[in-house]
Amino acid sequence: MKDMHPVDLSARIGALTLKNPIMPASGTFSEDLADVFDLDVLGAHVLKTIMHGTRSGNPTPRVCDMQAGMMNAIGIPSKGIEYFRDQTLPYWADYRAPLVVSISAHSVDEFARLCGEVSLPGVTAIEANISCPNIEADGNAFAMRPDTTHEVVTRLRAETDLPLWAKLTPNTGEPVEVARAAEAAGADALIVANTLLGMSIDIATRRPRLGNVMGGMSGPAIKPIALRMTYQCARACDIPVIGCGGIATLDDVIEFLIAGASAVQVGTATFQSPTVMARLIAELADWMAAQGIGSLEEIIGTIEAPEAGTCI
């Protein structure tokens, strides 16, 4: 049976078809992982966010532990656009998996300019990390509000013909409105979502455990929030949603697909087990075969849920 009807793992993200729905989350992946497994097994390669100029990032310590995850305040160190063009891009040319380039900026103009400049041959899609603070909006991240989201995505859209993915933040109180704004402004897909703002204090020194005071929470602790937002955004929008947040096991992958995700990104789990993405791809294929499921369409968005009540 398995041979006659092989499982089709391919994932459709708008016009793009990925050979499977498993890809890394930006900032938790680099060419260095090729030391551990063949990176071409992945559905896509998503690179660490770059900014236009060079930046050194935040003071150390840049990471700390929490009960079911970690916090980071790396601060988007960046070697700038030239380094990206001359060094990073040629490295990835040897791979067959599609390359997704994550970009960010502190102003709409700079964001738009970078978007145009990274729209180069060899780049398959652009992921806009709009969870970065917008200096022109009191330092609030673009993705905190529908209006700033709409403005920046509209400008990015105008600068590139490549598929444009918008990565949302879970720190907003209006995730659905923000998702709709990104869709209306022309985004081809949504990544739901980035890290949650948290903090931790070393009681012995009375100092924050991160050099930057606050940091972004990731890992299993945030999974229910990312899943809830994936469900909300997938219902509210017609463009595909890529789930991200705390995914570590096959069950997690399936949970996000059922909630409506068309694919998933895996971040922190790779730090605990660098081979996890390769394992998830194999496990997903085995599970689908065992369940007699031929393609992801039979899973995506198949949640059976009544309308949510208003009061929890």
């Binding site: 938790t28 260095d32 063949d38 990032g57 150390t60 990471v63 532990d65 970690m70 790396i74 791809i281």
Partner: protein, 280 residues
């Protein structure tokens, strides 16, 4: 999880041998060594035992009661023996992760990732080696002693400690033919002011071709200064909080002085061993 040493399988591999692997090892022993330190001996698969002195592993520490170490913890290789399938770590119990390590019992399974990072180099013209280190830092330098013996180099190990009886790894250094000098806080012999004449006398008497050190910024500054005066190169193993250990996350950066520029390097990838002259 199986309790036999195995490489965590990756379904599709390009035929290339990975540079490092996630492996399930088996605990052989986990015993206290003078007070604050413990020695963890593992039965490990051959594939992860092509190590260099100075490299490290990322250890998936079990959770001790009421605590939850989530990230792996970096630990230098204290000993490795490919033929015997042995891998050793010497660690100090400081927080949740190392408290978790302390709970490991013989026979337990234990997942490690490595070997990681760039180890020590031992250039051909470095014949007279001097190692200066303190506390658990001596663990990081321990495999150097074996390397020196294998390459037929002369090694002097200055082992610093709070008290003479707390000096780590002295027997191990001696077993690999190193000359050991113990300095300590009780008689003040471990202070930089006391170390400087000791080291300079050595340079004058027998010559020193390279220094090795680790961790302590007081020792670093001392060796940078002596090294600059006498034109002696050297290497230092450095530490930083880590997440991935592979070079992906940029958590573990430190600043280095290269010429008149300050640059950032990842301790897990470009390091943990760096030129003494460039360390800050």
């Amino acid at each position: 999880m199986t309790h036999l040493p195995t490489i965590v399988p990756v379904p599709v591999l390009q035929g290339l041998r990975p540079r490092c692997s996630e492996a399930n090892c088996k605990v052989v022993s986990n015993t206290p060594v003078n007070g604050e330190y413990r020695l963890l001996v593992l039965e490990a698969p051959e594939a992860i035992l092509d190590c260099q002195p100075g490299q490290f592993f990322q250890l998936l520490c079990p959770a001790p009661e009421g605590e939850h170490p989530f990230l792996r913890r970096p630990m230098s290789i204290y000993g490795y023996d490919k033929a015997a399938g042995r891998l050793e770590f010497l660690y100090k119990v400081t927080g949740a992760g190392t408290r978790g390590l302390a709970t490991l019992a013989p026979g337990d399974g234990f997942n490690v990732l490595g070997p990681l990072g760039q180890g020590f180099s031992m250039q051909d013209d470095w014949q007279n080696l001097m190692l200066v280190a303190r506390g658990v830092g001596l663990a990081t330098l321990a495999p150097l002693a074996r390397m020196a013996q294998e390459k037929g180099r002369k090694l002097t190990a200055i082992c610093s400690a709070r008290r003479p009886d707390l000096a780590m790894s002295v027997d191990l250094f001696e077993s690999y033919g190193a000359e050991v000098i113990i300095v300590h806080d009780e008689d003040g012999s471990s202070a930089p002011e006391a170390l400087r004449p000791l080291i300079e006398a050595r340079i004058a008497e027998t010559g020193v071709d390279a220094f090795y050190t680790c961790g302590s910024s007081r020792l670093l500054r001392l060796l940078q200064d002596i090294g600059a005066r006498h034109g002696i190169p050297g290497e230092i193993a450095m530490e930083q909080q880590m997440a991935c250990g592979l070079g992906m996350c940029q958590a573990c950066v430190r600043n280095f002085r290269v010429g008149d520029r300050i640059i950032q390097r990842r301790v897990c990838r470009e390091g943990p061993v760096f030129p003494i002259s460039e360390a800050i």
